[in-house]
Amino acid sequence: MPGIPSDSSSLIPFALEGSSQPPPVYPLQHGLRAPIHRIHISWSRGNLLNVTCLRPPPDQQEEMAREDDGIGGKAIEVLLGGAILEGNIGEHKRRRIAYESVKSYAFLHDKKISLAKMETGDNLSAPALTYWWQYTLEYSKSIRDILGNARLHRPLIEDPKNFLKPEEVEQPIGTKAAWELMEIFYVDMQLLSWLPERLVDWLEGYDSLLSKTETVHSKLAILQRKVTSMRVVEDEPGYWNGLAAALAVGWLDVVAKLLRLHGSYDPDQFDKRETENGLVEAVVLLVSEMPRMRPNLPNGKLGICYQTKHDYIKGLEKWRVKVSGLESSPFWVHCNHRPTRDGLINLLHILLGDAKHIADATSHWLELFISHLLYIRPLTNGLEGMGNLAEKCMNLKPSANNGLTSLLAGILSENPEIVLADCLKAFGPWIVAHAVDLLTANSEYTDGLLNEERYQLGGASIGELYMLVYAQALASHPLTWQVAPAYLSTCLNQGRGLLEILLLRQPVQNYRVVLKTLEICHLYELGNISTHIMKMAGMYQWKHGHKGLGIYWFQQSRDRTRLSQIAHKLFDNIGKSLSDDSFKQWEGLMELLGSDVGIAGGLEFLHKYREFKRSLQQIVNGGTVEAAKKSTELLVQLMRNPSTPQRFWLPLLLDSVKLLEWRSGPLLGVSETNLLLGKLQELSMAKLRPDFHGGELKPNALGDVRLALAKNLGRAILEES
């Protein structure tokens, strides 16, 4: 049935052998009746695919054709998604990121080139290397800003019931999360000692991206919605679950805020709840005093910072003693509210690093991983240890992997190739092209791996290959193609060729676009390409009747062949008609061609020729002797003038026959006749040459002219003697 896709009418992409996931199937509604005879697929501009479906020709299926409404085929446009970045950001946002990031990228590469020049071929010395990671860090930060600053709208009066982070202006984007993750692991060398804490911070920003439903963030979001309508929060199991979850991933400020919503803080209540309140407050205090192995904390975050490992371990021991002291405190007996007692003790277990409680409180393996880093193995350092831990957490909490989690797993497995491949798959070519510099910032091994020229990639390196992929994505869009050259120019092997192709492919219809393209040619010193483009533009304009613009482009490109062709064509036409209109055209053309063309004296000749033709016309219609004499004068002038093109000699000589045969005596003197005879002789000699351009002539034309000239010579001699 038309309009309803069925199995028989959907297009299925070719499945690759050995791929782990089944290929996605996208049904296309082509609305044709089965069977489909033929399918043509071709790329249109950008990500647009043209799919043409054809039904069998009617002569084979005549009966069916009669039943049908006669549609023999259909062409469908299919827009494939995921061009430059991941899918959840708008097209214009992607272009914005592409525009903004090119500045940072070009700046970093300029630095690279200038540093390389300073080192003049030697290996980068140690000081240069230290500079280098700082440059890369600057670059990374500028890119991070481009991806979106988490500008927070802080309310003037804080609502105590608003414990979750204030709504961010924009939803965090996965690309930014991935970028930050790579920055943490690959670039910032100063932060390596407090890597676990950086991961805690990272998770706080991007927890909501891990999964839609199964995260601490989603748990808290639900609680946040409910909490305003809850009368007695401590009776709700959700409250305690949320508290445990927030504590497990280290969102201490959220925990403190939530705990202070506890009913025991309420000033007007009937029961005696001082002990209960004291216990809650004690937990709040312990939470806010948690030792943290990091140089500082942002405003509003809780904990006590320790710079060195030694101080930290000491602080941690003291604090743990306090926590276990509270856990075994006799006051719990006096706490009458059971959920409070259980909930608080659960929190203390988490603080003490009880693996079971931590596992219960978290939802995603990554959260579990972070919580292990925070409470059980805070001194974990090195990727290997983290990798083992991550694997363990994955086994404990098998959750669906998405781009971010597989990226982290890739980073921990210390395989940059996998990291880049995962990034490309999840976040598109933009991030990969820009991340190569992050990955190679501090590792000579990765640098070698990604920038090594590979024979099987046509001499390109892996890094260059990703750059080319991104440049292609940019080039496919009419608004971003101008950004692509900046990336192509950094690709040493294939970039130049692709840049040339890209420039040659730009439309030449609009002269402004042509000028913009030429500007890029100029920037990258592609003189021959700009000549090509100008020639193409010239041809286009000439064909469309814009002679002025056409000749302009030919002149700019110094296309002498085409210009002289135009000039020859022009002269061919001149003899044929001499009306005012067409003459004006020739005049204009001649002016445009100027002295550039090989035909000398163009305009001057044209005017004299016209004058001669006009006077000749008068004589043929019956003119006076004076007119005939004047016309003869013009003829001699034309013949004497060296600028008269040779191709006009014969037509002029043929015209002269009319004057030679003037009835009332010879118009030309002996010397003038000799001049014409000389030209005739030269012409008959030239005729033997292969490059002679004679046009169409009567076979005995030359003979006629010679005869007339000879007769005239005779008459002239007689007259003069």
Partner: protein
């Protein structure tokens, strides 16, 4: 090279548009608090009116889209003017049509399209590259096209008439037109430079200037023209290779170079790329009455600068992408609006802080 201006006295705000912007023009505003600007959007082709409040406490006022009107193809030229207390916008397109809209001056709503001409035979059969409206008396709109035609459109009370001034059959491609007086206008194009036309003397241009760009070594096209109402004999020209020059009708044979390798290659070029638009800048004080008035220009390599004869150029902006168009507010010449290649519009206010401090 250029003085990079005293940036502290400027307020510059960039407004992302998420669509390519071709040309920008200020609209005459009736209220000092609400400013209006028209812009031509290229895909999908349309005219848009945006408003922003210039006196709000917020230092970064947002540009708000007020209204938009679709065009049959992308706009090549845009101009705004006042006629009989109406605010009008005229736009020409790449398919050779001319459209005139009336705009409510209080809120910026496009009320109606009052004129739409498109005729391959009697009007233009290719892109109209430039239009200009004579506002002081006749209200005639001159259109110059790549097809080598120059037309005058007379907007009457009840009918619209157009006259062909020139038909060059494609020998000349006109790229710029500007009125000098109610009866005279200047055109610029590819090939033979500048032409001065007089309606009272039909049949052809009354004066011509054939400038040869940098001895023919670089491309030479004219992109923009401007004539100052107080000096109707001088025409300032912006074109290829960073060339900005002034042509005085009284000394037709030589032009005064303001920037670029231009006509004689003596001066160091300020910008070497296309100068897309030039306009007299009423805000910059004039140094000497015998010299060419200060001129603002924008270029493909992202410069916005003020040029003066025999002075170093004052650079106002240096953008990473091309500045396609700009406009100086006639009512408030300190304010400049620019259209950038990368889908954004910038508003530059000059000298505001200084006056606040004083």
């Amino acid at each position: 090279m250029a003085d990079s201006g005293d940036r502290r006295r400027f307020i510059y705000n960039l407004h992302e548009q998420s669509k390519p912007v071709g040309a920008v023009r200020w609209l005459p505003s009736v209220s000092p608090f609400l400013r209006l600007a028209a812009m031509s959007v290229l895909s999908p082709p349309a005219i848009e009116i945006h408003s922003f409040s210039s006196q709000s406490p917020n230092p970064n006022p947002d540009l708000n889209l007020v209204s938009s009107y679709p065009l049959p193809s992308s706009a090549t030229s845009l101009t705004s003017f006042k006629s009989h207390n109406y605010t009008l916008i005229a736009a020409s397109t790449s398919t050779g049509s001319l459209h005139i809209f009336s705009v409510n001056p209080y809120d910026g709503k496009i009320e109606s399209q009052i004129i739409s001409i498109s005729d391959k035979d009697s009007f233009h059969c290719g892109p109209i590259q430039s239009i200009d409206v004579e506002t002081s008396s006749t209200g005639e709109c001159a259109t110059a096209g790549e097809d080598g035609r120059v037309n005058l459109v007379l907007i009457g009370e009840d009918k619209v008439e157009n006259f062909r001034v020139c038909e060059s059959d494609g020998l000349v491609a006109y790229t710029a037109v500007k009125w000098g007086s109610p009866v005279e206008f200047v055109t610029g194009g590819v090939g033979p430079g500048l032409q001065w036309w007089d309606k009272r003397r039909p049949g052809g241009p009354v004066a011509q200037f054939k400038g040869v760009w940098g001895h023919g070594t670089v491309t030479g096209m004219i992109h923009s023209l401007d004539i100052h109402p107080s000096r109707k004999h001088t025409c300032v020209v912006g074109g290829s290779s960073g060339a900005v020059y002034a042509w005085d009708l009284r000394w037709q044979q030589q032009a005064i170079t303001l920037a670029g390798t231009g006509l004689e290659a003596k001066s160091q070029p300020f910008s070497e790329s296309e100068v897309w638009e030039v306009k007299y800048d009423a805000f910059t004080p004039q140094v000497s009455s015998t010299k060419v008035l200060p001129v603002m220009m924008c270029s493909e390599d992202g410069f916005l600068a003020v040029l003066q004869q025999d002075e170093r150029p004052v650079q106002l902006l240096e953008e990473p992408c091309a500045i396609n168009s700009f406009d100086i507010d006639p009512q408030n010449p300190s304010d400049v609006i620019v259209a950038l290649e990368w889908e954004s519009v910038g508003i530059l206010s000059r000298g505001r802080e200084e006056t606040e401090m004083a």
